[in-house]
Each structure stands twice: as C-alpha cells, then as structure tokens.
C-alpha cells in the first residue's frame, strides 16, 4: 500500500509541485517582505537625513518591491492552499477507489466493516493518509527551503551567523518534530481509541433504552458512560500537556535563533563589518523564518500516522478470496432441475457438519416449500445452490439453465445508500417500466408513489429508510427483476401480515408457474395443494 501511495503521488506530481512551489514562494515572499520593509524604512530614514540625499533617494523602486512582495505573498498563499488541497483530494480520490477495489476482493470485509470500531478506524486511516501530503510533506519541505534560504542569505552578509545558526536550525527542523512525534502520537491514538469505545457504549445504551429504563439500570449505565468519557478526556489532557511542553521548547529554540542573529549582527556592526540598516533586515529575516519553521513541528508525526495507516490498510486487504465454483451445470437439458447428491457442509471454525450426505431432487416447477430442521441447514443449502459459498463434499447439479440465471433472496435484505432504482437494478439493465411493474407485483406500487422522487429517491442510512416489511419486498422486487429461471427465497415473507402475504403469493404463483422456485419458510400457511413440500 505504501508504494502505491507514493506512486499515486508521483502521478499527481504536476499539481503537487505547483502547490509546493507556491507554498515556498509564499513563505519566501512573506519573509522577504518583512526583511525588505525593514531595510526600506532604514534606508528611507537614512536618506531623509539630508535634503539632497532625500531627492536623490529612489523612493519608488523599493516601495514597488515592497508592494510587489506583499501582493505575491497574499496571492501565493491563496494559490498554494488551493493547489495543495486540489493535489490532496485528487490523490485521495484515486486512493479510495484503489483501496475499495482491493478490499472488495479480500475476505470477510463486510463483517469487519459492520463493526463500528473497524469501520471508524479504516475511515480514520484514510484521513491520516490525507495528512501525509497536506500536513507533513508541504510544511516540511517549505520549512527546509526557508531554512536553506536563511542560511544562504545570512552567509552573504554575515558568514559567522550562517555557521552558528546551523545547529539551532537542525534542532528546530529535526529535533523538535522527532520529539513531537515521540511524545504526542501515543496519547493521541489512545484518545482516538477511547472515543471509539465511548461511541460503542453510548450506542449500546441508546439501543437498549427500554430494557435499561424498566430495570432501573439507566442511571448506572449513564454513570459508567460519564466515567468512561472523563477517562477519555484524561488522554486528551495528557496529549495536550505534552504538546504544550514541546511547543515551549520549540519556541525557546526559535527565539535563541533570533537572539543569536541579533547578537552577531550587533557585534559585527560595532566592529564596522555590517551596515546599520542590515541589522534590522537580518532581525526581521530571522523572525520570518522561525514562523515557517514552527509550522513544520507536527510534520514527522503526521508522516508516521499516515504510514501506519497505509500499512494497516495494506494488511486489511490481503487474503484475497479464491473461489472455485464446483457446481455442475447442464444448460442443454430441456427441463429445469436441481440435483443434490450426498452433500455435506461445515462452516469454517465449526467442528460439526451443518448437514451430512444430503441427497434431494428438485424438479417440480412452481413453488417448492422447504421446511424442517434448524434454519442454518436450509439457508446453507440455498446458499450452496446459489453459488454463494463453495461446495465441500458431494455434488450439486443444475439442469436446464446456466448458473447466471439463478437468483437468491437472502433472509436479511441489504440496501446501499443510493437511489431506489440503483438498489433494484445494480447493473442498470432494466427499464423504468419493468422496475415499476416488479414493485407493483410486490404491493409496493402505492409506496413508490408516496416517495418524494419515486425511483430517484435516495434510500438507506441517513436517507429515506424503508420499514422492515418494505425492505423485504424491495428484496423480492430485486429478485423478480433478475428474470431468472431458478429462484431461491429464504424466508421472504417473515414479519408480513397474512393479507399481504396472500396477495403477493397469489400474484407470484401465476408468474412462477414455469420456473423452479425454492422457498424456505417457517410458516407453511400459504402453501396450496399444487405446491411441493420438502422436509429436510
């Protein structure tokens, strides 16, 4: 992942260099502005001492320079902020896509993302990666250039100063950021973890409000939450304390640089080696430079954070899924059928088989109700037929159609945060009429009308959230739109009231006369005499 980030950065080097250059120009302009203004004032004052010199003094050129520098600095700052943000955003936009693509192919990612702490950490990691460019590279490189500039300029006028200032500059550029990273990273990440834990606990409390209220436990839980929150605040205070101490140290080092500059300048002046006006210029030069140096204090810490984030993301996206489809399909056969031969399956980590040496044939068209033993066996069977999980022992033969025409409706219907249309037709293959017809068949026609933008309404978390029953029917509509030959439904009507179930099943029974439909359901009331029943 790290190499990938740097290669992406390189790809964006145009904008990146633009931003960096503008940043350096701005810094220089700012420092120069101070220095030249100082010189200008002194020179003007000197010139003003005699009337003749005053007329001879070229007032306008330095004045123009000052004004020019001022404009350069202001415009430069605007430009560099825009350019640097643009560079970061482009980088992150591409990075997100690549991370997504890698994670999409790695194992167990959904399970991990649905735990709040993992999801939040992943998103925090992406934010930290943003910080590499914006809060580490740019300020650090700018500071470096400014320091070099300082040394070069002072070398021109006062070589002793250039030499003497080097250790201080090194301390400021390297020592302080290192100290900062060492001292502040730990408590800051502890703070972040504790805030996450706080979120989890708070969310748990609010999800169980009834229980807690009735059992009079609400106050206790609230008390514990408050304590946890205060504990978390302690981490913040710890990070704060350390940060301020290092800031103090940093200030002292910077001021020493200023003091050193002043001292050597004054001594040189007294020895006749330095013109008076230049004292002021060097002083302001040092003041301007330390401002730029200060901005780089956190650079190392942000770099480390970003790097850690990159490794974590790299590790998360290992474990590529390798899936082998061992189902046998014989599409040429004239009639639809599913043949299960001595199928055994055990979930990972479980010693017991969910079922053993199961053999069953499904070749009756229309509705095939599957009832019987505990839910896991039935759901597992459907998932195997759907090709969602890999076959282990035994054979699964699908006749009369290809595996792409098998559709599966799981017990829990998921929706993504997107339009209703998108959620019904993920690959954009159906027309609006087809979609609306499917919704009508599952009795969601009126509901569709009631939505603010009908098919273009955004649904999902943070948007219009469908109720449990509506969600089930959305899943059903999605299934219908696949126009598959073999349909596998896992508890499609759970939680629906009887009248609704009857209406939907009656309509679908007609539609599904010539299809092979497997229906797992705990409730067999809707079964009629024409349907087939399998007891597992």
């Amino acid at each position: 992942m790290k190499k990938h980030y740097w290669s992406l950065l390189l790809a964006e080097r145009g904008v990146f260099l633009l931003g960096l250059t503008l940043s350096i120009i701005t810094a220089f302009a700012g420092i120069a502005l101070l220095a030249v203004s100082g010189w200008f004032i002194s020179a003007a004052a000197l010139a003003g001492v005699t009337a003749a010199a005053a007329h001879a003094f070229n007032f306008f050129t330095p004045g123009a320079i000052v004004r020019g520098l001022s404009i350069a600095r202001t415009a430069g700052r605007y430009g560099e902020r825009l350019a640097n943000h643009e560079a970061t955003f482009r980088l992150i936009s591409t990075l997100r896509r690549d991370i997504f693509s890698r994670l999409a192919n790695s194992q167990n990612i959904s399970a991990r993302m649905n735990r709040h702490d993992s999801a939040s950490r992943m998103l925090q990691d992406i934010q930290n990666i943003e910080g590499i460019h914006l809060h580490s590279l740019v300020p650090a490189i700018t500071a470096l250039f400014s320091a070099v500039g300082f040394v070069l300029v002072t070398a021109l006028f006062l070589p002793d100063l250039a030499m003497a200032s080097l250790p201080l500059i090194l301390l400021a550029l390297v020592g302080i950021p290192w100290l900062y990273a060492k001292a502040v990273l730990e408590p800051e990440s502890e703070l972040h973890l504790s805030r996450n834990a706080l979120w989890s606990r708070a969310s748990g409390i609010f999800s169980s409000l009834r229980l807690l209220t009735l059992s009079q436990q609400l106050e206790n839980e609230g008390h514990t939450l408050r304590q946890q929150s205060r504990q978390s605040d302690l981490f913040e205070l710890k990070a704060l304390k350390r940060q301020q101490m290092i800031n103090l140290l940093s200030q002292l080092i910077h001021l020493s640089l200023v003091g050193l500059t002043l001292y050597l300048a004054l001594k040189a002046y007294l020895a006749g080696e330095l013109a008076g006006a230049l004292i002021f210029m060097l002083l302001l030069l040092s003041l301007g430079t330390i401002e730029v140096l200060a901005a780089a204090n956190g650079a190392l810490s942000h770099l480390l954070l970003g790097h850690r984030a990159l490794s974590r993301l790299g590790k998360s996206s290992e474990n590529e899924i390798i899936f082998v489809d061992k189902r046998t399909t014989i599409p040429e056969k004239p009639s639809l059928g599913i043949s299960v031969k001595e199928l055994s399956y055990a979930y990972e980590g479980s010693e017991q088989n969910v079922f053993e040496e199961r053999t069953v044939e499904f070749n009756q068209l229309g509705l095939n109700w599957i009832a019987g033993q505990s839910g896991r066996g039935k759901t597992t069977l459907l998932r195997l037929i759907a090709g969602e999980i890999e076959l282990q022992k035994g054979n699964l033969i699908i006749e009369g159609t290809s595996s792409s025409k098998i559709a599966y409706l799981p017990q829990r219907v998921q929706i993504i945060r997107s339009t209703l249309r998108h959620n019904l037709d993920f690959n954009g293959q159906r027309t609006d009429e087809e979609i609306m017809s499917a919704l009508n068949q599952v009795e969601l026609g009126k509901w569709l009308e009631s939505l603010p933008k009908q098919l273009d309404t955004w649904i999902g978390p943070g948007e219009w959230e469908p109720s449990g029953g509506e969600l089930k029917r959305i899943g059903l509509a999605r299934l219908l739109l696949k126009q598959a030959d073999i349909l596998l439904l896992d508890e499609p009507f759970a939680g629906m009231d009887a009248e609704l179930q009857t209406n939907i099943i009656t309509a679908l029974r007609d539609l599904w006369q010539h299809k092979l439909v497997l229906l797992v359901s705990h409730d067999l009331e809707q079964r009629n005499s024409n349907d087939t029943l399998h007891s597992l």
């Binding site: 009337a51 994670l103 999800s207 409000l209 200023v258 839910g375």
Partner: protein, 538 residues
C-alpha cells in the same frame, strides 16, 4: 476566562514593547551611529520580551484547551440528562447511532470554538484598542488610518462569508452523502459481490469522489478567498501607513505628528505596530467555521430539548405500588397530545394472556410502551388489583414489568449482568431460569459460561439464542406483567417453538402476558383484541 484575557493583553503589551525596542535600537544605530548599551544587554532584553510573549501565549492556549475539555464534558452531561429524561420518546426522531455521534464526534467538533474562537473574539477587541492607544502617543494620523480601515474587514468578511456559507449549505446534503459513500459501499461489499456489481461500483465511486472533490473545492475557494481578502485589506492598510511614513521622512508631508516632527524611531515603531493591529481580526476570520460547527451542535441540543418537552405529556407521574393479582385497562388511549388508537378495555388475571392483533402502524408499540410506563397515557385508566395507578415514569410499576421486543436488547456486559440487570440473583437461580428456557447447554458451551461478555462482536450466540435470553430473563425476574412486541418475528420454527414453550411456563407460573404479534405458533391466548386506529390518525 479572566486569566486568559489578561495573558492575551500581556502578549499585546509585549508586542508593543518589542516594537518599541526595535524602534529605539534602530534609532541608536541609524541616528546616533552607536549603541547605548552592550550587545548582550540588547539581546537579552529582546529575548526576554519575546520569551514572555511566547510563554503568555502558551499559557493562554493551555488554559483555553483545558477549558474546552471541561465545557465539552458539561455538554455531554447535558445531552445525557436530556436523553435519559426523554427515554424512548427519543425515537424515531433520533437514532441510537445519531445520539452516539452527537455525544462523541459532534461535541468534539466544538473544541476549536471553545479553545480558540471565543478568546480570539475578545482579543480582536482589546488588542487593537491597546495598539491604538500606544500609537496615539506618537502620532494621531496613523491611529486614524488604522481605525478607519477597520470596518472594511468585517464587511468583506461577511460578504464573502455569506457566499461561502451559501455554497456550503447548497452542497451540504451532497457533500454529506458523498462523504459517507465509501463507508456505505464497504459495509455492503458482499451484496455488491453477489450482484456482480463490484467493478461498476468501483468506477462509480471514483466518479462520485471526483464530484465530491469538485464541490468541496468550490466551497474551499470561497472560504480561502475570505481569508485572502482579509489579508489583502490588512496589507493595503499597512502599505498606506508605510507610504505615509516614507513621505513624511522625505519631508514631502508633515501632517499628523503631535510635535513638529516624527523621529525615525517613532516611525519604525508605528510601522511595526500596524500589521499587529490587524492580526487578531484575521485570526478570528480564519476560525469562522468553528462558529458554524458550534451552531450545528447547539441546534441538535435544542431539538433534543424540544423532544424532551413533548414527551412529558399532560399527566403527572407517581410512585404508587405495583400489583400482584390482576390488571384492568379501562378505555386506555396512548399518546402525548393526540390519540394514537381507539380506546382499549380489558381485564386480565394472573395466568392469563392477551393477544393484540394490529395491522402495522396502528400503534401497538405505543400501547405497550404506555403500559410499560415509558410513554404517557392520554386518557383512560389502569387499575392494578382494583387500585387506579399511573404507569408513566413510575419506577415501582416498571419494576414489575418485563418487555421483549423483536430485537434482543442487551447491555454492555457479561451474560450474568444481562440476565440479572443489577439485581442480586444467585448463580443457582440463573441456571434454573436458563434451564427452563432450554438454554442451559448453550451457555455451558460458551467460553466463559455466565461470564461471557456480550458485545456487538460476539459470535458465539446466534440471534435466536440471544432472543431466548430475554425469556430466560423474564423467568428469572418473574415480572408480574410481561409485554411482548413481535418477539418471534425473526425466529425460525424451532427457535420460535422453544421461545413459546418457555413463555408458556411463565404463564403457568402466574404471570400475565400481553403480546402483539402476527405469529402465535398455536399458543392458546385467553384473551384477544384487535387494535384500531383512530379516525384521522396519521
């Protein structure tokens, strides 16, 4: 706050002092041609002034940062109190995740507001005043220039600030959505894999991220522009002062001095002070987003307060006794100010059970919540053992109630804690209850038995088993009245069977149950009623 302001003023005084130091030093060098003191003395005095300023600044920021931690703690306290007072009436206006967010990340967004913005606002008033006073000792025109240019800054800040605010508001929904898109797609990757839509979605994500980038840059352009304009105006004003001074020194101009002339030292002094005059205003401008963050959170807290008010309803709460043998509902209607359903009248004795049939949306949950004393009663009466009682916010009544919903409610703790809920039950009693709920062998197989910690990552207990824990809990506590809201809707046939048989035991042992459900699994209810909506209810 006082100390913080004082430290701020000290910083300003140091700034003025340093300007004076520089001015007098340059004067010595340029006018006299020699120094009045040794270099060492000069360096140390300069260092001291700057060091005091630095220390004052750090001290001030430390105070304010600590303060912001304390204030945020108080806000969290307030939010918790309000939420607990409102109880389940929080839903559906608020969601658990939303409240958790408010409590943690939203409140944390206020850090800058309390740590920086507030003090900067004060400094933006006092620092310029001090500087004007200092400057007017020397010259009256320069302070005038400074004063006259001041209003320009907030005016432009407001104009651009408004535009930026508008742009960001227009984009807010969009930005919010796009910002959360990655998270959403990652959570649903398995769905996308099944739908064979991963590649398509990856590209779509990229396109949408780009959109996000463009929208955000639009907003940033305006936001940065406001900062730039501030700088620009400040720079122009300083240039004005510089030009004025330059011309004065070159004898082209002689207005504005108190005496006949401005010495060079005085000129340098004024020129060093000028940019410092604008600095606090610029800093405040840069912190404007802190203010809007603060507003956003304050709005949410207001909404919380309103919801709390509404939930209190019109009846007084009380703390009378719970009951032992029978309850009677007379024309009971739940609601805060509006009736949710038609009046309900029924009598139940120990060992009896009521099935409530209700098409969705008729308020069966509200009815159950009202009986549990979690929502207010609009009209009608509840009689326990022939005494009239008021269930709302009535702890003694609530202690005799058990409530089981569709989704198992758990607390952040061990299995034992989840079963006991703070009451001192012996392990023996707990195992008895588990046995009756047929969960004994399940729990025996757990890694730590009764000490097994239930969190959102626990995978050793299935959803169905967790739901059956609720029944075990009821068998342990033996509440007089057990309320159930679609308890077996999400359970498969076998689990539902186990659940209902445990429920049967509970009833046999003298409990009363009121259950709202579509599924009954052939349970024999002694009473049955159908809940009807009020005419005209939403």
């Amino acid at each position: 706050m006082r100390l913080s302001l004082l430290l701020g003023l000290i910083q300003t005084l140091c700034t003025i002092g340093f300007a004076y130091w520089v001015a007098s030093m340059i004067d010595q060098v340029l006018t006299q041609g020699s120094l009045n003191h040794s270099p060492l003395f000069l360096v140390i005095s300069a260092f001291l002034i700057l060091a005091i300023k630095a220390v004052a600044s750090l001290w001030q920021s430390t105070i304010n940062l600590r303060n912001s931690v304390t204030i945020r703690d108080r806000l969290r306290e307030q939010i918790l109190c309000l939420s607990f007072k409102t109880g389940i009436s929080l839903f559906p206006s608020f969601k658990p995740a939303q409240l958790a967010n408010l409590l943690t990340s939203e409140v944390d967004k206020l850090k800058e507001y309390y740590a920086e913005f507030k003090i900067q606002k004060q400094m933006a008033v006092w620092t310029p005043i001090l500087i004007l006073i200092a400057a007017s000792f020397v010259n009256w025109l320069v302070p005038l220039i400074l004063l006259l240019t001041t209003p320009l800054i907030p005016i432009f800040m407001i104009i651009v600030g408004n535009k930026a605010g508008e742009a960001s508001r227009n984009n807010l929904e969009q930005l919010n959505r796009l910002g959360h898109l990655l998270e959403d797609r990652l959570r649903n990757i398995d769905l996308l894999q099944q739908e064979k839509a991963v590649e398509r979605e990856t590209e779509a994500l990229h396109v949408q991220s780009d959109q996000f980038r463009i929208s955000t840059m639009k907003v940033l352009r305006l936001a940065f522009l406001s900062g730039t304009l501030l700088e620009f105006f400040a720079a122009i004003s300083v240039a004005l002062v510089a030009v004025y001074l330059g011309l004065f020194f070159l004898d082209k101009y002689s207005l504005g001095a108190w005496g006949a002339d401005i010495s060079f030292a005085e000129g340098a002094f004024l020129l060093m002070l000028a940019p410092e005059y604008y600095l606090p205003l610029r800093k405040m401008g840069a912190l404007y987003h802190a203010k809007s963050n603060a507003h956003a959170v304050a709005e949410q807290i207001e909404k919380l307060k309103e919801t709390a008010e509404l939930s209190q309803g019109s009846r007084e709460s009380s703390t009378s006794d719970s009951f032992a043998e029978s309850i009677h509902l007379e024309a009971l209607v739940s609601g805060n100010h509006q009736a949710i359903h038609q009046p309900v009248t029924v009598s139940l004795k120990a060992g009896e059970s009521l099935l409530i049939e209700a098409p969705s949306g008729t308020g069966k949950t509200s009815l159950l919540d009202t009986l549990a004393g979690l929502r207010t009663l609009l009209s009608g009466n509840v009689y326990a053992d022939e005494r009239s009682i008021e269930p709302f916010n009535n702890p003694r009544w609530q202690q005799g109630i058990g409530y089981i919903t569709q989704h198992p409610e758990l607390i952040y703790g061990s299995l034992r804690e989840n079963l006991c809920l703070g009451k001192p039950y012996s392990d023996e009693a707990i195992w008895d209850a588990l046995r009756s709920a047929q969960l004994e062998d399940v729990v025996e197989q757990l890694p730590q038995g009764l000490d097994y910690f239930i969190t959102d990552s626990g995978h050793f207990l299935s959803g169905g088993q967790t739901q059956r824990l609720s029944i075990a809990r009821a068998l342990l506590h033996r509440p007089k009245l057990l309320l159930l809201d679609e308890p077996i809707a999400n359970l498969d046939v076998d689990t539902a069977e186990l659940f209902m048989s445990a429920l049967h035991q509970y009833v046999e042992q003298g409990g009363i149950i009121i259950m709202a459900s579509h599924r009954t699994n052939q349970f024999n209810f002694t009473h049955q009623l159908t809940l009807a909506k009020t005419e005209g209810a939403a």
